[in-house]
Amino acid sequence: MKLQSGMLQRLLPFFSLIALFLILSIASPYFLTATNLSSVVRQTAVINIMALGMTLVIVAGGIDLSVGSILAFAGVMGTMTMVGSGSVLLGIAAGVLAGFVWGFANGFMITSLKIPPFIVTLGTLGIVRGLTLVVTDGLPVVGLPKEHSFLGEGTVGPAPFVLIVLVVCAAIVHVALHSTKLGRYTYAIGSNEEAAVYAGIPVGRYKIAIYAISGMLTGLAAMIETSRLMTGQPTAGVAYELQVIAAVVIGGGSLTGGEGTVIGTLIGAFIMGLLSNGSDLLGVNPYWQQAIIGAIIIMAVALDEARKRRFAT
């Protein structure tokens, strides 16, 4: 009895997503069309992929505020490489590498300088954005090879290519989180870092790895963003970190660490994606969208806390 209702509450985000989907299907004739649904997928892919990395970071008890800036930096680096070399793949690799480097730097500073991740990534948020603007002089990178548009806009059969990218990434992160040492240690570190150290776990090394993976995924998301815009925008990704963190939190991730799942995060990201898409379709003032998403974050966490309190002892 108690287990069932606990389970029910745990599945609440999932049911909310389904309910939202059904409501929108009824409310708008345009919602349940292939064009609209694939546009939802394309629009949310960037946040979704970043949120996968953020899930690792948050489960480990950390936070990364710099992902929006890293998105811009990686996008600019990737597109510059692409324009310079003419190779799409090389450009994507460069973008992912740029993300990796900043993620690694975040992790390294957090562990070696022993500064809280909030502060370190607040710092890199500024540093990385600044460097991006310096490198580009504030101007977008243009003249990308047109094949690059496939990543963000292409389709394989009926499915948007980004959906496949997202599913593959999600599957990898899901398996990593549940069935590898990295994942197990991520939960252990997030639940009680000191106990993890006392268990002989090389905590510092794993934390660096977690931030580096988050950076890589942000790099990949950056290349999807550039593919959709077909430019490398130095101002891309402003305030994305908030949406990304919101997706993880709505999906059951705990900012105190030790809790969160890939599936939850995906549900969280899609809830936000559907809300924004639904508001567009139903003609809701976009200014209201932000307010609604804000309210949903608070509601989701309040429900989750209530569940935990009720089933704690």
Binding site: V175, K181, S191
Partner: protein, 484 residues
Amino acid sequence: MLLELNGIRKSFGGVHALTGGDLHVDAGQVHALIGENGAGKSTLMKIVAGMHRRDGGEMRLKGAAVDFARPAEAHRSGISMVHQESLLAPHLTVAENVFLGHELLRGPLADRRAMDEKTARLIAEHRFPLDAGRRVETLSPAQKQLVEIVRALQSDASLLIFDEPTSSLSESETVEVFKIVRQLRDRGKGIIYITHRLVELDEIADRVTILRDGETVHSCPRAEITTREIVHHMVGREVSAIYERGQLAPGKVKLKADLPGAAFELRAGEIVGIAGLMGAGRTELCQTLFGITPAHEGSIEVDGEKRAIGSPREAVAAGIALVTEDRQQTGLALDLPICANIVMAHLDAICSGGLVQAGAEEEVAERYRARLQIRAESIRRRARQLSGGNQQKVVIAKWLFRDTGVVLFDEPTRGIDVGAKAEVFALMEEMAAEGKALLMVSSELPELLQVADRILVMRNGAIVAELPRETTQQEIMHHAAVGA
């Protein structure tokens, strides 16, 4: 009658924590409340202190029915609780903590000077080793406990609840606490005293109430009941409380420490006790051996090989495990399942090709649950939901699975009940019989004498004596306090 509780009931999400809590406390009486972990003592006291609301039953204070919705209401009615685990704000000073929630004011502003002075006066009156202006985070666990006591004294409550006040205190500090408790009683206060140490009852209790499985099973004056009968009521069955360790058969040297002030060997099959007063350097020795505060000089050999131990990781790799003093802080990931905690230190054993093998974790955990008799509904339960004794078993299971040759135990029986203590000792003996070398730090001298094959006594950061197992408490205290 100061406080009267009849048939108090409370459940949490379907789990019945209390089914019939009865307790009658008179003014000018020290009333010991005892029971195993999970018996419902803390829940009952939290209801009295307004931290939980009861589901049913009757609560009367000085004859009037009461129902507290918030701790502040209980506090206003003259009930004050001295918590076991410090609920203090670490960044505030002693005085600020003492007055937290009932600050003295001058106009709209906090009157710091008055609070400092009043705190200092209370501290001086009881001769506590405390400084009103110190930040709480710089204090030892014992000193924090004293802050909690000063806080209760300050509020001039008529009913004080002490929740295992001596569990982190040294011998001499315990004596001081007893003195304070008696003093308070003689001033006509009612005192509820929760404890695990049955030996304390002789010293302090006027009346004893025993809880088991959420119910009051017995209540009588202390003089009318023997310790044996108390244990029987607590666990509901006979327990051989006096634990006898078999004959020692030491094997080869497992650990050879040559550190400044601490040169000793641990042999396979041996349990070596470390005695000493609080601050004698016992915990520090464990932390050095385990790489938390690495030694700058000296050497550590494991199995005859010199090992550089600069971190817990290197210690574990060398074959040294540490069951820490504070399992909640450093021993367990409380919000992870029991099984995740058990395999945490040895994931390699259940990984293949980089992936944790499906089902392997559960299999390992079930094995240790059966072997250590960890009492939990399921190994998927969070470690937080276990009693202290069962949490300790999970920590021990973690190191059993890692299978290190040397295991250090820092206060292994702290905060766990009689039944679980006997089980922990039996486990330690089993580990020794398997050929592991064990080091056990304990402030409970009777336990050390019971379990250890020989006892090293520490004072001022150095080992000052090595005593055989036939030694006495007096002998140990003599070396620990003044030296030979």
